[in-house]
Symmetry: C2
Subunit: 430 residues, 2 copies
Amino acid sequence: MALRIDSRAPGFEEALARLLAMKREVSQDVDEAVRAIIADVAARGDAAVIDYTRRFDGLALTSGTLRIAPSEIEEALARCDAKTLAALETAKARIEAFHRRQRPEDLAFTDDLGVTLGWRWTAVEAVGLYVPGGTASYPSSVLMNAVPAKVAGVPRIVMAVPSPRGELNPLVLAAAHLAGVDEVYRIGGAQAVAALALGTATIAPVAKIVGPGNAYVAAAKRRVFGTVGIDMIAGPSEVLVLADGSANPAWIAADLLAQAEHDTAAQSVLITDDAALADAVERAVEAQLKTLPRADIAGASWRDFGAVIVVGHLAEALPIVDRFAPEHLEIMAEDADSLAAGVRNAGAIFLGGHTPEAIGDYVGGSNHVLPTARSARFSSGLGVLDFMKRTSILRCGPEGLRALAPAAIALGEAEGLDAHARSVAIRLNR
Amino acid sequence: MALRIDSRAPGFEEALARLLAMKREVSQDVDEAVRAIIADVAARGDAAVIDYTRRFDGLALTSGTLRIAPSEIEEALARCDAKTLAALETAKARIEAFHRRQRPEDLAFTDDLGVTLGWRWTAVEAVGLYVPGGTASYPSSVLMNAVPAKVAGVPRIVMAVPSPRGELNPLVLAAAHLAGVDEVYRIGGAQAVAALALGTATIAPVAKIVGPGNAYVAAAKRRVFGTVGIDMIAGPSEVLVLADGSANPAWIAADLLAQAEHDTAAQSVLITDDAALADAVERAVEAQLKTLPRADIAGASWRDFGAVIVVGHLAEALPIVDRFAPEHLEIMAEDADSLAAGVRNAGAIFLGGHTPEAIGDYVGGSNHVLPTARSARFSSGLGVLDFMKRTSILRCGPEGLRALAPAAIALGEAEGLDAHARSVAIRLNR
């Protein structure tokens, strides 16, 4: 049974604060191991990557076989079943169409002093996409990371995916192929992150690394940050469902369990103004758990981190939602739109009973890489802007410079930066 | 004398690679001290902040005097000279006008399946702005950080600025007042970053912290990242000037020195296709250094990190510029616009002889917080988007869900996430 609390009961604020402060991740101290691996890849390049791959993945490679050949990708494609491939194509087309609308516009304008100002957006020159091996090797995540980079115009997209004992998920390779990934390497862990960031004889360095990974991958990304850009470090996934008595309890239960099946550290929360709905959802969760293949994982997540919060009125729930800043927010209520308009902090909002989060995870078109662990208070889901950067552009003519010079000189002098002031003044002496 | 290299001479690539790999910052190992300070502020709140302020700033405070009272800010304003205040107002108005154009638009569209998709941008709920004390306490930086946050619609902007032995730069308080900062605290260092991120009895926590600082501040920002958002960790500043024989060597020298006076670790680089211009610039730098108040700093920067690169043709310079990915790029050449169009990596570009970087530092209107240390390869200058986040929104009706269900179910099953597939399928059984 998940935690159940009621906003009208004594001790509610304390119970809510405890729920919000819950640590769902055990932080593994792998930083020293990761530091050594990165230093070794910096020093020995391919040879170090090959050594670690032998040790951690049980796979013997050479510089010539680090990269997965195009022919292997074709073979993998041939092994995928047609229905799944078609689903991947649907997903890819919808993700691409959505993200095309995120492409930013350049700007140039001339102000009343004749000064031209603006900016230009350019794509990051090369991006590395990390894909975990094993059970967390999701083809949908390949699309969600690679398609926005492609839409941004990144000219070189490189993927690293470990293949423990040589095993690779053919759907991951199919997704990479569909998304237009340019190079795929069969390496993983901190050694792959280091190779992407620093480059080796075989792998040219990239400028930014994105994608989820285990504790080693996360620690390596933190360490190479600065040398390259990185995306957010993803934590365990979470969903918050906001529902009134009009909602279907079995559907809510299914969505709570879809979140919970990801990971024992995932979190599913229901907030409702209807205690009877809360009861019905709790019963439906227990019933559905009985036939779920990943019931162990989902059950542990629901027991340890799940919560049902009953409030007097749904409007009261909005400040609670903003404090959770959930990665995923589902709203199943009569006035879903106006409730949504009152939310400040959420990675993605799914409106109405016919929008299960799983649609957004796969084929809605919006990105499923979203801010976790309350970081929606200050960050956004992955998008095209994460693969572009903005260069500001300024041009003064002699008149514009003359008009702005007094203020610039005054500020330079006030800050004790005389060479700044002089670099402006010298242009007036003609 | 700065380094001089020629692209047509043997060993050029090696010399350029060495220049690019130069480490300009000595990394201070303050992480353990910072960890302890943050833990102490987490445990003891105000009392810890007050203790560290007494120890590091020689200033005795109470919970009641941590915050700078509005009356003190009014007094500081009265002490500023009118010319400098007017210059700050000019700067503020231009920064605001420029950044208003960066406000992003929300989107909502309905696709051919009747699915509604889009996103909504919202401001970060509270932002902390760190301002260094002492000589690096720049009022222009207060404007550059606070104005975009205000334009973004951040409802609460909090500033922390240390006042060693009680001293405060009145222009910094004036800039905060002008920019609409809501609360100002006279605290600094890791203790200020911790107080902003974690909150104390007196200081409510923020969701994002921006602004430059010393090694302790930088280490503290890295440590609280995740709990709050942070901006880039700024390194020493740099300028790259790209010039042909038409450029004025004295103006170029003035700009190189304006950069160099910031810090002995700053870097000023000239790339030109005209060896005679290179000679003239070198002579002008030496001549101008003789009368510069900060000649010691500027001279050391130019000697240790300055460089003059002569190339056969300016078009050859573009790949070199992209490898530097300079924070500031000035182009003084006949075909400045077409050269600028060929640049991928730069924080800001200043076009033509009448656009010294100092104009952009103060009153151009674009932001002077720009990516350093080659990070313009993957990141942008500070802007309105840094104070907002995007929530994606999805709504399916029954028909849209029915159309998308097969692909979503296929992918859920292919990824071994049956509860995902079931959360879609359960909605079809009606």
